[in-house]
């Protein structure tokens, strides 16, 4: 009985999470420009539209460029910081860890508004690169968390052995620490990349009137006329996220990355 109940519960949650996406997937293959479900006819042309239509294509390019660069910048901020916190005893420096986690913990509209007032005051409001910095700060939490996990998993005796044999900090970092930390670095980048791709409010408040990312484009389309392209973009996004997280799971330890360390290792 309970076994059956368990399956039913999994099915229920699975259905709740997938139902909107199933309907959207159905809508995305409509033959004509209609949001009907079940779809009338079958066509993949709305997927082609993402790349063929200049407006959707430029939004796609803007989103990908933004996500690639901002995730890289987030990692560049997180890596030296977590290395320093691991390498040195400097309790006051933990304040920067807190600062790195704060933007992600607070409601997003706060970071967005802070950046909007800041860019407006400094006169850079609307410049595309301001969104890169905005996203890097907003998502620096993710590489910061994965990297702190990674550093805490490094056996300090490796590093001591290297130091005893005369390696300096730079050599130790390059030859011992970096290879051990790499999976965490990559997953931190992946998390920041996927979330940046989907982010709306920070991008909208900083560059909303000069640059159209895909989420902004979808929101505008929601207001000024639905098209099945919105559905195909949605499915493309879900698919991209699923592929990236599957890769993270394949090459890293996903349960461990999500904080579920076995109790016998610490």
């Amino acid at each position: 009985m309970t076994h059956w109940l368990k399956r039913f519960y999994f099915l229920l949650i699975g259905l709740f999470l997938s139902l909107p996406l199933i309907v959207v997937a159905g809508v995305s293959v409509n033959a004509k420009q209609t949001l009907a479900f079940p779809p009338q006819g079958f066509s993949l042309s709305w997927y082609g539209e993402i790349f063929a239509n200049p407006e959707w294509r430029s939004a796609l390019i803007a989103s990908v460029v933004l996500a690639t660069t901002s995730a890289a910048l987030a990692v560049l901020i997180a890596l030296p910081l977590s290395w320093f916190l691991w390498r040195r005893i400097a309790p006051w420096a933990n304040i920067f860890q807190v600062l790195g986690i704060a933007p992600f913990t607070l409601p997003p509209v706060i970071t967005a508004l802070g950046l909007l007032t800041f860019w407006a005051t400094t006169g850079f409001y609307g410049q595309p690169w301001t969104a890169v910095i905005g996203h890097a700060i907003f998502f620096v939490t993710l590489p910061l968390v994965t990297l702190s996990l990674g550093f805490s998993a490094i056996d300090r005796s490796f590093v001591e052995a290297a130091a005893t044999m005369g390696a300096n900090d730079r050599t130790i970092f390059r030859t011992v620490v970096l290879p051990l930390i790499l999976p965490y670095l990559v997953s931190g980048y992946a998390f920041a990349f996927v979330l940046s791709l989907n982010e709306y409010i920070v991008a909208y408040m900083t560059v909303g009137f000069t640059l159209e990312t895909l989420p902004i484009k979808i929101f505008n389309a929601l207001r000024y006329g639905y098209t099945p392209t919105m559905a195909s973009v949605t499915i493309l996004f879900v698919f991209t996220a699923a592929v990236i997280f599957s890769l993270v799971a394949k090459f890293g330890d996903l349960p461990k990355l999500l904080g579920a360390m076995a109790s016998d290792e610490s």
Partner: protein, 284 residues
């Protein structure tokens, strides 16, 4: 090489770039926002430096009180629904084989990373007249003809639960995985049914985690700014929506900033509460 305090300026080297970035692009903007919240608004969307409390005084209106009350009520509802749904699910998930767990985790992360715009669009399609659930109900014979189920009050928390549920599960997951499995085994050996063991052993053992998760999901839900706009009517707008609206469409930055500062204070109060609960949990 032991962990040691920094000796020279060069030892601080790795800290320069991250500290600089966080200070310039997070702390300074935050300070700017607080400053602007005291500024005087001018006609035409500009504001001049001043030190006035008029932006905060606007909180005292009945309209604002209503929006605040509604936002808090909505976030509480969403948090409770999410934890009630997620708790048994996460427990069952932690008992699955590793392979199945990873598959579920990938699915949950994929949904979690979805843009609010996309979630809003997906639910508005699901609840629409042409493509939605009501067509299904017509086919079964429960409805005469398809109807649009949004915008409505029910659609807003539904979409928000959808958005926050994966988050809730992933917050609960580490605590539940680390839970000592012998606890449940002992209860089962002593003759308790799985459901009774869940409520009488697991839930009390996780009391602090559950409280902390409720608060975290509450904060998460408080940040929802698009779903109330897409799925609800203007009377279902939350504080986050109002902040965006004032900043972008009404061009009243000082008032938007004042509301944001207020939202930060509410959030920080709750985070402090979470930490307090966490500390108590460690002691126990």
């Amino acid at each position: 090489m032991k962990r040691e305090p920094p000796q020279s300026i060069a030892d601080y080297g790795p800290l320069f770039f991250p500290a600089g970035m966080l200070l310039i692009f997070f702390v300074v903007p935050f300070g700017t926002m607080i400053a602007v919240s005291f500024f005087q608004r001018q006609e035409g969307g500009f504001y001049t430096p001043a030190f006035v409390f008029s932006n905060y005084e606007r909180f005292l209106t009945a309209f604002f009180g209503g929006v605040l009350g509604f936002s808090l009520m909505l976030a509480v509802t969403v948090a409770i629904c999410c934890v009630v749904l997620a708790l048994p699910f996460t427990y069952l998930l932690s008992r699955l084989t590793r392979r199945l767990q990873v598959i579920w985790l990938v699915a949950l992360l994929s949904v979690l990373s979805l843009s609010e715009v996309i979630i809003g669009f997906a639910w508005s399609t699901l609840l629409s007249r042409t493509a939605g659930l009501s067509n299904l109900l017509v086919k079964i014979g429960l409805l005469e003809q398809p109807v649009a189920l949004f915008p409505s009050f029910g659609a807003v928390p539904t979409g928000m639960v959808y958005q926050a549920l994966p988050y809730t599960i992933l917050v609960l997951y580490p605590a539940i995985v680390r839970l000592d499995p012998t606890l449940m085994e002992a209860a089962r050996t002593l003759g308790s049914s799985p459901i009774r063991a869940f409520f009488n052993v697991l839930v009390p053992a996780l009391r602090n985690t559950i409280m902390a998760t409720l608060i975290m999901v509450f904060i998460f839900a408080l940040g929802s700014y698009l779903l109330p706009q897409i799925l609800g009517r203007p009377q279902h707008w939350t504080l986050s929506v109002l902040i965006t609206d004032q900043a972008i469409y009404q061009s009243n930055m000082p008032f938007a900033a004042a509301m944001a500062v207020f939202l930060v204070l509410v959030t920080l109060g709750l985070v402090a509460l979470t930490l307090l609960i966490g500390r108590k949990g460690e002691k126990a």
